[in-house]
Amino acid sequence: MIKLISGLLLRALVVLSGTAILTFALLWNAPGDPATAIAMARFDALLSDEVIDQVRAEVGLNRSFWQAFGDWLGPLLRLDLGYSAVTGRAVWPDLRTAMGYTFPLAFAALGLGLALSVPLALVAAKRPGSLLDRIAVGIASLGNAIPAYWLGLILILVFAVKLAWLPALGASTPAHAILPALTLALGVAASLTRIIRSGILEARGQPFLPAIRRRGVSARALGRDHIAPHAAIPVITVFGLELAFLLEGLVLVEVIFGRPGLGTFLVQAILARDFSHVQAVVVLTALIFVTVNLIIDLIYRVIDPRIGESNA
C-alpha cells in the first residue's frame, strides 16, 4: 500500500514539474517583448530605450531560462508567489480574491449538477429503453453538445433580459451566482447523467443480485448496499475528467458573466503579458487537478482492489 501511494505521489510530482517547466518555457518564448509591453503600461509617454532596459533588468528578463526558472521555483516552493510586474502588487492577494469568486461557484455548480443528474439518471434507469429513458439520455447528449458560453448567453437573455428575474453581470450579490452556476451545472449534469445511468444499469446486471433478493433483502437495501457503491465507481473515475470540463467552463462563464474570478484573472493576465499572474494560475490549476486526480486514483484503488497497474 505504501509502495502504491508513493508511486502515485512520485507520478504526481513528475507531472507537476513537467507542467511547471512547460508553462515557464512557453511564457519565456512567447513572441513580443514583455519588457516593452510592461514599460508602456507603466510609463506611457516617458517611454525610451533606457526605460525599457531598466524594466527588463528590474523584472529580470535578462536572465537565462534556467536562472529565471530557479528564481521563480525557489520562492514558489516556499509558497511565495512573488510580485506582478504589471500591477506592481504581490500576486497572492489578487489571486486569493479571484479564488474567492471561483471556488464557491465551482462547488455550487458541482452540487447543482449532481442534484440534477442523480434523479434524472434514476428515472432513466428505472426502465431502460422506455420513452422516459430515451428522453433523458437525449437531453444529456444534447447537454454535452451545448457550449457553456452559448448556454450562458441564452440564460442571460431569458432570465436577465426578457424576464428580468435574475441579475446578469458582476458578482456583487449571491444572486449573481445563480445563472453562472446553472450554466455550468447543466453541462456537468449532462455528462454525469449518462454515466450514473450506465453505472446503475451495469450494477444491476451483477449476477449475484437475484440470489441476494431471494434471501429476502429489500429492494431499498439492495439499492443502497449493492447497486449504489458499484455505480459510484465509474462516476468517481470520471470525476477527474469532469473537473477538467468544469475548469474550462469556468473560464468562459466568468468572462461572460463578468465575474472577477480566476478565469477573468487568467484571461486578463494573458492579454497583459503578466507572467507572474499567468504562472500563478497555471500552477494553481495544475495543483488542484493533480491533487484531485491523485485522491480519485487512491479512492478508486481502495474501493476496487481489482484495479491493477493498467496504466503504468
Binding site: G18, F245, E248, V251, V267
Partner: protein
C-alpha cells in the same frame, strides 16, 4: 464505420459547398441594413456591420469545421506516433513518453490552449498549434494500449522473423487493429476541437475578424444581446448541431465496436 464515413462526407460537402450556397459575401459591409432581424432579404438577419448572417454561417463552416478537422487529424498523427513509440521502443521510452502524456493531461486542455493561443498571439496558426498540442494525449493512450496487445500476436512475430521492415509491419499488421479504436477517439476529439475553436474565437484568441468563425460571431452578437438577441442563436445552434451529430456518430461507432468485441 459507415455512418462515420457518411458523416465525414456530409461535413466535407458542407465545408466545400457551403460558401457556394451563401447568398451574399460574408464580409460585405452594409451599414444601412445593420442589425436587421430575419426577413426576406436576409434569411437570418444581419449583424452589427450589416453582413448577412446566413452567409457568414455557411462560410464559417470552413473555419469552425474545417480547422477542427485539420486539428483533430494533426493530433491523431502526433498521438498515434507517440503511443506506438511507447509501446514498441522499450520500457524506458514507454515510461518517459507516458509521463509526458500525463503531464500534458494534467492540465485542462482548453485552459492550456487558451494560455498558449493567447500568449503566442491571436490568429489561425496559433489556434491550430494550441489545439493540436493539447489534443494528442487520448490518441497516444489508445495507440499504446493497442500497440502493446498487437506486439505479441503470432503474425507480428512472424513478420519480424521474416525481416519485414518496421514501417511495413506498422502498416499491415498494426493499422487494422488501430483504426477502429482511433476512429472512435477521433470523433470525440473532432467535437472537442469544434468546441475549442469556437471557445477561443469567443474569447477573441482564435480566428480573427473579418473571418466568420462561429465563436467570434457569438462574440460580436454578445454586444447586441438586448437589441438583436436572435443574432446570438444562430452561431451557437450551428455548433450544437455539428457537435451533436458527431457525438451521436461516435456513440454509434463505439457501440458497434463493443458488440463486435463481445462476439469475437
Amino acid at each position: 464505420m459507415r455512418s462515420v464515413w457518411a458523416l465525414v462526407i456530409i461535413l466535407i460537402l458542407l465545408v466545400g459547398l457551403g460558401p457556394a450556397l451563401a447568398p451574399y459575401d460574408p464580409t460585405a459591409i452594409n451599414i444601412p441594413k445593420r442589425l436587421s432581424p430575419p426577413n426576406a432579404e436576409f434569411l437570418l438577419g444581419t449583424d452589427a456591420l450589416g453582413r448577412d448572417i446566413l452567409s457568414r454561417l455557411l462560410h464559417g463552416a470552413r473555419w469552425s469545421l474545417g480547422l477542427a478537422f485539420l486539428i483533430s487529424l494533426i493530433s491523431l498523427v502526433i498521438g498515434t506516433i507517440i503511443g506506438l513509440a511507447a509501446a514498441l521502443c522499450g520500457r524506458v521510452t514507454d515510461w518517459a513518453l507516458m509521463r509526458t502524456t500525463d503531464s500534458f493531461l494534467a492540465f485542462p486542455e482548453l485552459v492550456a490552449a487558451i494560455v498558449i493561443a493567447g500568449l503566442i498571439g491571436a490568429g489561425s496558426w496559433s489556434l491550430i498549434f494550441a489545439l493540436s498540442i493539447t489534443g494528442w494525449m487520448r490518441y497516444a493512450r489508445v495507440a499504446r494500449g493497442i500497440g502493446l496487445s498487437v506486439q505479441n500476436r503470432g503474425y507480428v512475430v512472424q513478420a519480424r522473423l521474416a525481416g519485414l521492415p518496421g514501417w511495413a509491419i506498422a502498416r499491415w499488421h498494426y493499422l487494422p487493429s488501430l483504426i477502429p479504436s482511433l476512429t472512435v477517439v477521433w470523433t470525440g476529439m473532432f467535437a472537442r476541437a469544434i468546441l475549442g475553436i469556437s471557445a477561443l474565437g469567443f474569447l477573441g484568441f482564435g480566428v480573427q475578424p473579418p473571418n466568420p468563425e462561429w465563436g467570434s460571431m457569438l462574440l460580436d452578437a454578445r454586444v447586441h444581446l438586448r437589441s438583436t438577441p436572435l443574432q446570438m442563436i444562430w452561431p451557437g445552434l450551428a455548433v450544437v448541431i455539428c457537435v451533436l451529430a458527431i457525438n451521436l456518430t461516435g456513440d454509434a461507432l463505439r457501440d458497434a465496436l463493443a458488440k463486435q468485441d463481445t462476439q469475437a
